[in-house]
């Protein structure tokens, strides 16, 4: 079925990491979680998906992750139709989902352990990532000994350990306080820039969405769909002061305008 639609949509998957054409998802045959999402994600792009609850942003992310299948339309990752989870796509959730019985190092090594025997080189790589996310002194701590922000740092290190070149972040810092979230966002930008990975970042915060992204997918609910795609031209590396500038706030207004238009 996917092969038919793949031929039919006629898009060139060559330059795109993720290609969606009319992607829809129905739950229970009646509830439309996402309707007709058409979009392209190019290599090393940072995309923010912003919208209120029920706009289908998490559904879209989970389809790209191969955790659930689209009901109709075509969705390709690296030219292959999505179907099941793949090694080059990694996901991070709002909750840290660390295993309480594993040390930070062992949690970070989990993706490796699931596919092969862990070697000393894997350990060293994991320790580097732990240092990168700022948990150098906590490699042998258990999750319950860490703060919420530190747990998400560990979770981010685990995501990087997968070696995936597509990172799917589902409101990763949404449960944290404002200050911690701001700091982790900045670090995320630094880390993603360093690794040059393609990133999809789900949030319900417009400022955060724009600040981080090259492109913002503005999503609206009932039924969930992509109501508009806004390109973010600001230079990188970006500083938190960017959020005080006029062009930034004009862009916030533009995104908000898309929501308002949809509400009428």
């Amino acid at each position: 079925m996917y092969h038919e639609t793949r031929a039919a949509d006629g898009a060139d998957p060559g330059g795109a990491v993720i290609l969606g054409h009319g992607v829809s998802k129905l739950f229970g045959g009646t509830v439309v979680a996402l309707e007709g999402a058409t979009f392209t994600v190019k290599p090393r792009q940072f995309i923010s998906l912003v919208g209120p609850s029920g706009c289908g942003k998490s559904t879209l992310l989970r389809m790209i992750a191969g955790l659930i299948e689209p009901s109709s339309g075509s969705l390709h990752v690296h030219g292959d139709p999505v179907g099941k989870p793949r090694r080059d796509v990694g996901m991070m959730f709002q909750r840290p989902t660390l295993m309480a019985w594993r040390t930070v190092l062992e949690n970070v090594l989990l993706p490796t352990e699931l596919v092969r025997k862990v070697t000393a080189a894997d350990r060293d790589h994991a320790l580097e990532l732990i240092e990168l996310v700022g948990l150098k002194d906590f490699a042998y701590a258990f999750p319950s000994q860490l703060s919420g922000g530190m747990q998400q740092r560990a979770s981010l290190a685990r995501l990087l350990q997968t070696g995936a070149d597509v990172l799917l972040l589902d409101e990763p810092f949404g449960a944290l306080d404002e200050f911690t979230r701001e700091r982790l966002n900045l670090e995320l930008l630094r880390i993603v820039a360093q690794f040059g990975r393609t990133t999809l970042f789900v949030t319900h915060n417009i400022q955060e969405a724009i600040f981080l992204a090259d492109e913002v997918f503005v999503m609206t609910p009932r039924p969930g769909r992509i109501a508009g795609i806004v390109e973010v031209p600001f230079e990188r590396p970006r500083d938190i002061s960017l959020m005080q500038t006029v062009p930034f706030n004009e862009m916030v207004a533009e995104v908000r305008g898309i929501f308002d238009r949809d509400n009428k």
């Binding site: 989970r62 191969g66 989902t97 042998y140």
Partner: protein, 282 residues
């Protein structure tokens, strides 16, 4: 190091000692009053034996006549074997029920019936089926120990962390890996609580089984001693069971802090050190 603490006890040490002293004082006062009540004849010594006589009965039960050992051994064997069989049975059935929706559906009515039936009431039936022997007692204790581990294991599996499983799936984990690396450890605290409950009811189950069905074991000894009004010996036997119960409880407690170390700060630190050594040597 300890030299430094000699010059004076810290405030906390002083408090501890005073509390220990208070407890001892209350205990001694209580025993003295009891002793006096029986010596003066206010309390009937036949029914409420003097504390000193109970202490003498310990000597006679354990050393002089030594009759307690055989009974103690029988009861211990019943408790432990029934506990092991019941717990293993409960956990394995719960794993099956936890993994298969169909198995769960078909098992459910029987579980409800079993839950509503006082397990110990099945004792006389067991007796009729299996006779006055070890088998009947084993069956009763097994039955008593089955339920808590079963229900807790099942609950643990059914309330598994969905996000955790989703994460495992996104990492391409197999069903077996999800079960062994996420679901089982995740359910472990609940499973352990079930196992502890089973152990707590095992001793009681074994004693009731012995009351109704046996000719040896601590239940029989206690029954016989009380029947012929050898009350001081009966008290000694009862206190022996208290000590046994206490040790079983402590064993389960250490087992728990060993298995689910991440719920206990001390164990967690110990494991962290061990893991660090392991990973450094890799």
């Amino acid at each position: 190091m300890s030299d430094e603490s000699i010059p004076g006890l810290s405030a906390e040490d002083g408090l501890t000692w005073r509390r220990v002293f208070n407890h001892l004082a209350i205990l001694v006062a209580f025993l003295t009053v009891w002793e006096m009540l029986t010596v003066t004849g206010i309390a009937d010594e036949l029914l409420y034996p003097r504390p000193t006589l109970i202490i003498y009965s310990f000597y006679s039960l354990f050393i002089d006549q030594g009759i307690v050992w055989r009974h103690l051994w029988i009861t211990m064997a019943t408790v432990l074997s029934g506990f092991v069989v019941g717990t293993i049975l409960g956990i394995s059935l719960a794993v099956v029920a936890g993994l298969s929706e169909t198995a769960r559906r078909y098992m459910k009515p029987y579980i409800i019936v079993l839950e509503a039936t006082p397990r110990i009431a099945i004792g006389p039936l067991m007796l009729a089926w299996l006779g006055f022997g070890f088998e009947a007692k084993l069956a009763i204790v097994t039955l008593v120990c089955f339920f808590a581990p079963f229900i807790n294991t099942l609950t643990g599996f059914l309330s598994a962390d969905e996000d955790q499983i989703e994460l495992m799936r996104s990492l391409g984990a197999s069903k077996w890996q999800i079960l062994t690396k996420a679901m089982v450890p995740d359910a472990m605290p609940l499973i352990m609580a079930g196992i502890r409950l089973a152990m707590a009811s095992a001793l009681g189950g074994a004693l009731v089984a012995e009351f109704i069905s046996s000719n040896e074991g601590m239940g029989v000894l206690l029954n016989n001693l009380a029947a012929v009004l050898q009350m001081s010996a009966a008290f000694a036997a009862l206190l022996t069971l208290t000590v046994l119960g206490f040790f079983l409880y402590r064993i389960m407690e250490s087992l728990e802090s060993w298995i689910i170390f991440w719920h206990h700060d001390d164990s967690m630190r110990r494991v962290a050190r061990k893991r660090q050594t392991y990973w450094s040597k890799l």
